[in-house]
């Protein structure tokens, strides 16, 4: 360990299997937004059979094809203890799409098979008839602040929240968790699950910085993140919100 600028660690779980919705965009956003503030980020990639380090500040799980998600579910169940411990200690855990389902209690497939989840989020997912696909706009609430978040969803799972977590936000457009209750995503402590890709973080700098701020605090850093020039991010956010649900 050197005594240079504060180094953060991000654990990217299963980059070879869970990468279907351009998940590396989310990693790139974490990396750059820390670099632009003079901080550095070390990305630790963990694949099938590799142990999960307990000392990362941020953990990321993306989405995969059904077949890959099944492979991952069994592997993750066997080795999730360090991840659960890190989450309990305040590390940030972000799961997108399939990764969201894996953070929950489990996934009941249409073939009757049940994929295990690791239970960081009190949610239960069941395969539905037909996929929920399209633009998403929601009013998301984190750390007492509510902001608009934009994205795209494409999932067969219908996710229902238990009492142990709260929704990430209320939908203005899109299907969200289950197409029924107007809610999207789930939050418990610093663990966040969502169906929104696009990818999620590039067009939602507020969300990215909220998660990075939590991670920074978990790393023992007491200062707040310096503001960045997010003109492009805001324009892309506005363009996506304007086109959401429009016939095209």
């Amino acid at each position: 360990m050197t005594t240079g600028p504060l180094s953060m660690r991000l654990c990217h779980l299963y980059p070879d299997h869970l990468n279907i919705y351009a998940d590396r965009g989310n990693i790139a956003v974490c990396q750059r937004r820390l670099e632009w503030r003079g901080l550095s980020l070390e990305v630790v990639e963990v694949g099938l059979g590799d142990p999960i380090p307990a000392d990362c500040h941020l953990y990321y799980l993306g989405g995969g094809q059904d077949r890959d998600q099944a492979l991952v579910a069994e592997d993750l169940e066997r080795k999730a203890d360090p991840l659960r411990q890190a989450a309990e200690d305040g590390a940030v855990v972000l799961g997108v799409c399939g990764g969201y389902q894996l953070l929950g209690r489990g996934y009941a497939g249409s073939d009757g098979r049940r994929l295990p989840g690791i239970g960081l989020l009190d949610v239960e997912t069941t395969a539905g008839a037909g996929r929920l696909v399209g633009d998403v706009v929601l009013d998301a609430t984190l750390s007492g602040q509510t902001r608009t978040v934009v994205g795209y969803e494409n999932h067969a799972g219908r996710t229902h929240l238990g009492p142990g977590c709260t929704p990430l936000g209320r939908l203005r457009r899109g299907h969200g968790n289950n197409g029924e209750d107007g809610c999207e995503g789930a939050v418990a402590g610093h663990s966040v699950g969502t169906y929104m890709h696009g990818p999620l973080l590039p067009k939602n700098p507020w969300l990215a910085d909220t998660l990075l701020g939590w991670a920074l605090a978990h790393a023992g850093h007491t200062e707040r993140l310096a503001p960045l020039d997010d003109q492009l991010e805001k324009s892309a956010h506005a363009a996506a919100a304007a086109r959401a649900g429009k016939k095209r």
């Binding site: 070879d16 990468n19 279907i20 919705y21 351009a22 590396r24 965009g25 790139a28 956003v29 750059r32 094809q65 059904d66 077949r67 492979l71 996929r131 696909v133 399209g134 633009d135 795209y152 494409n154 890709h197 696009g198 990818p199 590039p202 067009k203 492009l232 991010e233 324009s235 892309a236 506005a238 363009a239 996506a240 086109r243 095209r248």
Partner: protein, 461 residues
């Protein structure tokens, strides 16, 4: 539908009339409307019309390269004096095929490029004499679903083929190889020159696990995405030695390439005006398809040498003193090949990236984050960048997070205005490269046509 099927002649007459009317009203060339109507009026029409083609039907499908490959096969058939019916670029759903069959009077053979998702239905309807399966890449997940899902549907299409039909397939693609493995009559093709391979899989390569036992595949050579020389160290499943194989590939930048191909009927030397390894694949796919029709090897080379790039596929136009090279970029595998091809050029690159999110493009623009645009920033090759289209800001963000200085970036959503800005930026070197999505390509083409520079889309043959 409760509607009774119309008699054959009446249905065809009504459909043709609608096409002529549409053309007269300036609503396009009627490349799909007559077929759409025909399929409504008489659903069995496609099957009936296909049966009446004496030499049978050839279908070509795959995520990338089907338009170019169909043009290449067409060139060989034309050179042999065979009268061919074909669909026009992009009209590759059931209605486009039905329209082409409606206009197939006197054709001896029908050759259709077919959308990946439409392949099962069109295989059932046209009872093809040959099917060429080129590749399956990650593409428009909102429209096609997962690659596994398409592979499953292709498997069903193959099992419904007539056993005597020739199945021509890309042995370098493990997904396609597995799809083809049940069929008795196959002809495989692949790329064998180790000099053009890379040693590791690119980001976002799908299907890199064994299709039989799920162990990770071993690659002795990677060409494009998950294509290459693969084998499974766990169960022994291995890429078959291709029947038609490119043993030498010499890429000459954007000008073209030379290929030495071994076929069961003898060697072929090809000199192509089409650049890049993706076109090496298209050329061997076309060669394999043509050789399945017992066309003499010596007739293939001269026929292919004449073909220019298809609409928007490394197509070159001049606007004033600036040469404009257009490389359709609609999914990560295709965009990555375009980038590799551009990098073969030894000069500063002025790039115009056009991103639309309409239905034909896929409404989900996530895929741009799977493209290795970073390669353009290595060695500072990108002299200027203009982004345009409905989602210009998404593309701008993609490059910002790749590390490109936003100060050097022009963001102009309007395609004509973005084109002008890119032309100004590239005027010093006299060259620009355009990477458009599909509907952005149509917009670009319409803009060029309005400036008197290019034929209208539906005139493309």
């Amino acid at each position: 539908m409760g509607m009774p099927s119309l008699p054959r002649g009446l249905a065809a007459g009504a459909a043709r009339g609608a096409g002529r009317l549409s053309q007269r009203l300036g609503r396009g060339g009627g490349t799909t409307l007559p077929g759409l109507l025909l399929n409504l009026l008489r659903p069995e029409s496609t099957a009936e019309m296909a049966r009446s083609i004496p030499g049978g039907v050839i279908l070509l499908s795959g995520t990338n390269g089907k338009t170019t490959t169909a043009r290449l096969v067409r060139a060989v058939l034309d050179a042999s004096g065979t009268k061919v019916a074909a669909n026009t670029a992009g009209a590759n759903l059931e209605r486009g095929v039905a329209t082409a069959l409606l206009n197939a009077d006197g054709a001896e053979v029908a050759l259709f490029e077919v959308d990946e998702a439409a392949l099962p239905a069109l295989t059932a309807q046209t009872r093809p004499r040959a099917v060429t399966l080129m590749n399956l890449f990650r593409d428009q997940l909102d429209r096609y679903g997962e690659l596994e899902h398409l592979a499953h549907r292709w498997r069903e299409a193959v099992s419904a083929l007539d056993p005597s039909a020739v199945l021509i397939y890309n042995a370098d693609d493990p997904v396609v190889t597995e799809v083809a493995s049940g069929h008795p009559n196959t002809l495989s093709y692949g790329l064998e020159d180790p000099r053009v391979g890379r040693d590791r899989l690119p980001h976002a390569a799908d299907a890199t696990e064994c299709r039989r036992c799920t162990a990770p595949l071993r690659y002795d050579m990677v060409t494009i995405a998950h294509l290459g020389r693969w084998s499974c160290p766990a169960c022994g499943w291995t890429r078959p030695v291709p029947d038609v194989r490119a043993i030498r590939v010499d890429l000459h930048g954007l000008d073209g390439q030379r290929l030495a191909i071994a076929t069961p009927r003898g060697p072929i030397e090809l000199s192509l005006r089409l650049p890049g390894m993706h076109n090496s694949y298209n050329a061997i796919a076309a060669t394999a398809t043509a050789s399945a029709f017992a066309l003499a090897p010596e007739s293939i080379g001269p026929a292919l040498a004449k073909r220019e790039a298809a609409f928007g596929r490394a197509e070159r136009t001049h606007i004033g003193a600036v040469r404009v090279t257009t490389l359709l970029a609609k999914n990560p595998a295709g965009a990555n090949e375009n980038i590799r091809t551009m990098l073969l050029e030894d000069r500063p690159l002025h790039l115009l990236a056009l991103l639309n999110d309409r239905t034909a493009d896929g409404r989900d623009v996530s895929w741009i984050w799977d493209v290795d645009y970073e390669l353009l920033l290595d060695g500072d090759r990108l002299a200027s960048l203009t982004v345009g289209g409905d989602r210009a800001y998404d593309m701008a963000l993609r490059f910002r997070y790749a590390g490109f200085d936003p100060e050097r970036l022009s963001i102009i959503p309007s395609v004509p205005e973005a084109l002008d800005a890119a032309l100004r930026a590239g005027s010093a070197v006299g060259d620009i490269y355009v990477l458009p999505t599909y509907t952005a390509l149509l917009e670009l083409q319409a803009e060029l046509a309005s400036r008197g520079l290019a034929p209208s889309f539906w005139e493309d043959r």
